[in-house]
């Protein structure tokens, strides 16, 4: 098993890894710093930035200038709405494939996965035209539907791999114990599956929150979530560093926190169980 490592070697690894990790993390750290500066201070050289005064004014300004919370709320509805809607459709499907596998189960799963491989740009035109015709363009509902559809394969796959880890014998035991299908799902399967479902929700909220193809192309202003809201800073206004930083921090903070909780699930979810 693990061998004792000399303290000096451990210190050296810690120093190297720490330095590299700091570099990776620095851009995020830096926008936090800039968001707490005045516009004038924010464009100074880094060493001058660090010694200048601190202020929260940019956060207030972002809300005043462009109604940050409207977009935040859009993001919440789109991310959680699409995930929960997806969950409702995916849970029965994943349950059935995991516990009543048939000859074609594998093919169905692979086919579902293949829909995820469809490049979004390949169907941009028809979706865009359909959205115009049905009046879904720039609506939260439209985005909920589209993001649900593009993430549905991932949700089904993740749930499937979690469900498959629940030993079939336990469900058989429940059946022997006299549980009906409903009771089996309610008292045995659901409590055992909740951790897996929670991870699935977490990862898919993250994916939907950060999705930046459909959210940019299918919204104008009304339904624009944070991805599109931030993109509006790409115009010369983006040179207001402090405000851009404040808006960015507010856009990524919630998901960063959720992301740290979901490291393990990330691997499973994004590799479709190919790496665990």
């Amino acid at each position: 098993m693990a061998r004792a490592v000399t303290a000096s070697r451990k210190a050296l690894t810690t120093a190297i890894a720490g330095a590299l990790a700091f570099l990776m993390f620095f851009p995020i750290l830096w926008i936090v710093v800039l968001s707490l500066k005045t516009e004038v201070d924010a464009i100074r050289a880094p060493w001058q930035v660090l010694t200048s005064g601190w202020t929260f004014e940019s956060y207030g300004a972002v809300q005043e200038r462009s109604d940050y919370f409207k977009h935040f709320w859009n993001s919440v509805i789109i991310a959680f709405g699409s995930t929960l809607l997806g969950l409702v459709i995916a849970v029965p499907a994943a349950w059935a494939m995991a516990f009543v596998p048939g000859k074609r189960t594998k093919d169905v799963l692979m086919w579902m996965l293949s829909t995820k491989m469809l490049p979004p740009v390949g169907v941009l035109v028809p979706i865009y035209l359909l959205f115009i015709n049905i009046g879904l363009l720039d609506t939260r509902f439209g985005l909920v539907i589209v993001l649900m559809l593009i993430n549905l394969p991932i949700i089904i796959w993740m749930l499937y791999t979690y469900f498959r880890e629940i030993p079939g014998e336990i469900l058989e035991a429940a059946r022997m114990d006299g549980a009906s299908l409903r009771e089996e799902v309610l008292y045995v399967l659901t409590p055992m599956a909740i951790p897996g479902m929670a991870s699935t929700v977490l990862l898919n909220v993250i994916l939907a929150w950060n999705e930046a193809f459909w959210t940019l192309n299918l919204t104008a202003s009304k339904a624009a979530p944070l991805t599109a809201f931030i993109a509006s800073y790409s115009s010369p206004e983006g040179l207001f560093y402090a405000k851009l930083s404040a808006a960015s921090v507010m856009a990524i903070a919630p998901i960063l926190i959720m992301g740290w909780f979901s490291q393990k699930q990330l691997v499973r979810g994004l590799t479709f169980g190919a790496v665990k």
Binding site: P167, E169, I170, E172, A173, A174, R175, M176, D177, G178, A179, S180, E183, Y187, V188, P191, M192
Partner: protein, 335 residues
């Protein structure tokens, strides 16, 4: 009550027939062991009885009533799984009470039964724990507890001891036997371990490739194996099987002699001679693997613990003719 009858029961998965039509009767209160090598269909047979698999043909009757299409929960059987299949998110108490809760029994009666079962199985102190906090033996007892509270017509055990270490296995074996003595309920027990079969069973069913090779009490199988398969499977160490002139001399294609029915001597009045290969001195017994010029495989012989012979020693053997088993070319016993 728990009399289970299988009438021409058949099971195939797709084109593969794992159990050809099979008849078997299990009497009320009997402890029946299904034994056979892995893949012989013994677990499938148990699952057919449990109702966890649909039969492809034939009829299963429990206490005279046709149960072939009755769902598992309604058959009045309880099962103990190989992995124990405990509900990890429920306490031990809730695990044991689960079948009672499903049956809609009132809370007080549930508690009374769970407490009784826990007392019998020495689980009283663990009722509030989760299965994850228990040792293997304790989990096994919880699984048994969950089965006994229902007061089923019969218990089904699917290799319940195979996940336990050797010492615990012997202990649990005794506990299950004692439980059977106390409850007098029918038990069907699946194992690949012939020692478990011999020690626990009233009746052993030896299965091979989905077919019943022989049904009988442990000693019947030991004394009168009906064919070569049973002869080789029951008994430890294995019966020696000999073909060639020695067999022909006794009017058989193959003769079988168990290691314990060969006498070791150092005088010259013996029938077979050989050289000691590996010798295993257990203290109480000694197992010799004897090399003989006429055979490729060594002959296994069981002698007393005081026989001091070692690798390379010459040895003189006398088989006990009264305990010799004779088989024809098809492998069937010649009486």
């Amino acid at each position: 009550m728990g009399r289970i009858t299988l009438d021409k029961v058949r099971k195939s998965f797709g084109a593969i027939e794992v159990i050809p039509p099979l008849d078997l009767t299990i009497e009320d209160g009997e402890f029946v062991v299904f034994v056979g090598p892995s893949g012989c269909g013994k677990s499938t047979l148990l699952r057919l009885i449990a109702g966890l698999e649909d039969v492809s043909g034939g009829e299963i009757r429990i206490d005279g009533k046709d149960a072939t299409d009755v769902p598992p929960a309604k058959r009045g059987l309880a099962m103990v799984f190989q992995s124990y299949a405990l509900y990890p998110h429920m306490s031990v108490r809730k695990n044991i009470a689960f079948p009672l809760r499903m049956a809609g029994m009132d809370k007080a009666e549930q508690d009374r039964r769970v407490d009784d079962a826990a007392r019998v199985l020495n689980l009283t102190d663990y009722l509030d724990r989760r299965p994850g906090q228990l040792s293997g033996g304790q989990r096994q007892r919880v699984a048994i507890g969950r089965a006994i509270v229902r007061e089923p017509a019969a218990f089904l055990f699917d290799e319940p001891l195979s996940n336990l270490d050797a010492a615990l296995r012997v202990g649990m074996r005794l506990e299950i036997s004692e439980l059977h003595e106390r409850l007098k309920t029918t038990m069907i027990y699946v194992t690949h371990d012939q020692v478990e079969a011999m020690t626990m069973a009233d009746k052993i069913v030896v299965l091979n490739a989905g077919r019943i090779e022989q049904v009988g009490s442990p000693l019947e199988l030991y004394r009168q194996p009906r064919n070569l398969f049973v002869a080789g499977f029951i008994g430890s160490p294995k019966m020696n099987l000999i073909t060639g002139p020695e067999a022909e001399k006794r009017g058989a294609h193959t003769i079988g002699i168990r290691p314990e029915h060969i006498k070791v001597s150092d005088d010259d009045t013996c029938i077979w001679r050989g050289t000691v290969g590996v010798s295993e001195h257990l203290g109480s017994d000694t197992f010799f693997h004897i090399h003989m010029p006429s055979r490729d495989e060594p002959l296994t012989v069981r002698a007393g613990g005081d026989v001091d012979l070692y690798h390379g020693d010459h040895i003189c053997l006398t088989p006990d003719e009264a305990h010799m088993h004779r088989f024809d070319e098809k492998g069937n016993r010649i009486e």
